[in-house]
Amino acid sequence: MDFLAPSTWAEALAAKAERPDALPVAGGTDVMVEMNFDHRRPGALLDLTRVAPLGEWAFDDGRVRLGAGVTYARVIAELGSTLPGLAMASRTVGSPQIRNRGTVGGNLGAASPAGDSHPALLAADAVVEVESAARGVRHVPVADFYTGVKRNALEQDELISAVLIAPPSGPQQFCKIGTRNAMVIAVSAFGFALHPDRRAVGTGIGSAAPTPRRATDAAAFLAGELEAAGLWESRAALPEGLAAEFGRKVRDAAAPIDDVRGTAAYRLHTLSVMARRAATWAWDEHRRAA
């Protein structure tokens, strides 16, 4: 197996173009596990850790441009208030060791339905920036990025350069079910964002369908009801019944399976509870912010 260690982004793109069989490695917290289990034996490893810009984030045209190689630990430490949903999700990832190595770009690369950043990115309407030497930069809305179980929209010669996320105009929440209080893969997860500027609602469902996905109807329903009841203006309390109905609609958007981590029925049930609670917390925070 070859080990390719480009030191610039251009070299990295060139290497990926030349060796489509090269497997990118960022934190390695997915890649090394797969190699240890002999689930993958790539022709080459393409180490991205020497490509400095991948590890940087900055404000760019009103959005946060989060380099693909920024670790969860840094998201938590540096972007806790700027990207609250993603930071909440990051806090639930693995252990301190994993958060120190694992990256959001790697989570997107792996595209596991259980990846914790996905529900937060979906709720926040993130955009994935990918690039190839041949065709340059392409922007993929995150909802289009997940194409199947552990599959994503990357072409063979493409790499993820960054994720673009608009700072929120309202509160965000992230909840994750696991059968222990830390270090656990999501049995189900839910990301929620209020977008008061657009009078919209963002959602993301994890571990309850072949890919991470939105609860589009539920989001439209909730935004519409808030509008209809004049709640965006009045900032009155979120009616319990509305929150519960939103929860049920989120549940209906999922298509989970039974597996060793939990039953489909439990996953559905938890989604309705998490969605109800997350919407209520976010709305309450929105009211307090007034």
């Binding site: 209080n181 893969i185 981590r261 029925a265 439990y266 049930h269």
Partner: protein, 756 residues
Amino acid sequence: MTSTETRTTGKIGDSPLRPDGTLKVTGEFAYSSDLWHDDMCWGVTLRSPHPHARIHGIDVSAALALPGVHAVLTHADVPGLNRVGLEHLDQPALAEDVVRYQGEPVALVAADHPETARRAAKRIVVDYEELPALTDPRRALDEGVPQVQPGGNLVRELTIRRGDPAPQAPVVVALDFEVGMQDQAFLGPESGLAVPDGEGGLDLYVATQWLHVDQQQVCRVLDLPPDRARLHLAGVGGAFGGREDLSIHVHACLLALHTGKPVKMSYARDESFFGHVHRHPAWLRYEFGASEEGRLAYAKADILFDGGAYASSTTAVVGNGGTLGLGPYNIPSVTVDARGVYTNNPPCGAMRGFGCVQAAFAHEALMDELADRVGVDRVEIRALNGMRDGDLNITGQLIDSAAPVAELIRTVRDLPLPASPEGERDIRDLPGGASNTTHGEGVVRGIGYAVTYKNVGFSEGFDDYSTARVRLELTGGEPVATVHTAAAEVGQGLITVEQQICRTELGVDRVVVHPKNTFVGSGGSTSASRQTYVTGGAVKAACEAVRAAVLRLASARLGVGGLRLDGDKIVSASGEVLASLADVLGAEAVEETVEWHHRPTEEIDPETGQGNAHVQYAFSAHRAVVDVDVELGLVKVVALDTAQDVGKAINPDAVVGQIQGGSAQGMGLALMEEIVVTDGKVRNPSFTDYLIPTILDMPPMQVKVLEYADPHAPYGVRGVGEPPTISSGPAVAAAIRAATGKALRRVPVRPEHITL
């Protein structure tokens, strides 16, 4: 493989630092997986993918053809008897014509690189014909089911009949309970190194719990006399019963003898789940009859243990589950039927708590049921029915030392409770923790109690002993004791205990613990909470023999009799200091070896189950406080407090450590630890999906240690390691029942059991 030597003043009752402690914390301790030998090969095991299959042939040619491969072995290469087993020789070291569980070893490869060995193993072609598998133990004894072993599917059936055969009582409560398959989940995977001596023999360095029984098993398969297969204890990364059966032992030796090279084997985590036995899953049906006041009149228990494909220690687990399975209570009339059966599931055997763990979930749940039915407090009902010194247990054995059930359960009740939650809480203190699933919504607090007793040492007539060799001599002008036993240190702190006993008995400061190996007699198993008792007893006896010899020497040198040792001084009958230990020893080395046996036990009567089955009993109680998010089924254990009678705390820190660790392991079974087996196949052989509690799951503990000396035991000690694993889980389960109002008749309690 080096000697450990520490200098502390710690005698019995102190808590000197353990010599391996700092090394382990700093990552420098050499575990068995760190063993290395220049020129060594790596061995790997090819295992059966099927729970039950006939083998029509094994073609190793493609594996042998791979460059770097030194040997590929099958059962045909076994020189001796191809059978292993702790209690029954029923398991081939390498499968012959049939495999009986997924993961059964079929062939071995040695190669100069582990990756080469793994690739070679994949090239071995085994011609399997899948056979119908018996995977439901409840059907094991039915007509027409697959026969797992030639002698039928029953490993052991135990019956206890005592008192009124048809008892009646005004209050009757009953339940069915089910316990899932727990794993020892030790962090140090099975590993070892076999080094051939060039003369047909070898040395095996291995992480294990009982060197001498391993040696017997290895010698039988290799057809070697004991002096040709010498075993040495390598650094053990946890055991909990999972290292009582063989893992790499025979395999590494076979490969080493065939290649003439040192062979190292070290399982990866997934293989470890197939490389050792697990805790028996159990199905329990219990009934209590009691007076209106809640005093037990009778108890009935029907207990089924799934032993899996090979017997391992199922016989003894059934023995414990049966004889101890009604808990530490006075019960006039008793009917117990306990069975262990063969199935094509993973083999089950020893694990901390050994048969008592499963039973305790049932008898403690039923005790709560009884308390509620008769309107007696759940603590007081245990105090009311609890055993006392002088009672007879259900096998008619006299409890002839402290049995403080009432005191233990009331002690945990009286410990301060955690503060009730008020105001905004840190989500990390709530069920779900950092996963942010509740800010207090749906959270209900519950409290649960449980009490247990457990036998210490080997039972039912087993001649259970340990051997200690103690040598006293001057080194650099200072008296130094060297203690040599074969008793395995698996992390419990035996090395420190051996040093403390030598210091106490011989008045020396410096005690060298000789590396553990088979060059001294058997130390018995590091299991059944027995080493401080039995090897401690042996070291004490050997020290006493050394002391007597030193005093004889002193009498001869000084020409006076009636001497004694006071610290490191030789003192006359009148108390006058006559000489120092160093003066008397001079160039002489005094060495004594003692084989020490605990009180004999008896086999129980095959029909009534009556008899003095056990040597000693240890008692503990737990109180668990949990917060349950009843809507999501997530649990946060807020407090897990305990009281335990340890007889005498030889090393108080180590005692508390055992109690904390044991409690966490019992809690793990109540909440999350389960090997999920479907159709004979393990679905979660990894720490991704076999969950064990983390520091965010384990609450701080209040630990109350009682010391009621057992007059029959050395220093009055009582085994410590297992009781906490038994009473903690049922207390947690009870607390969850209290919070949710659900019956919860299965552990681990999964979130969906609470919500759906």
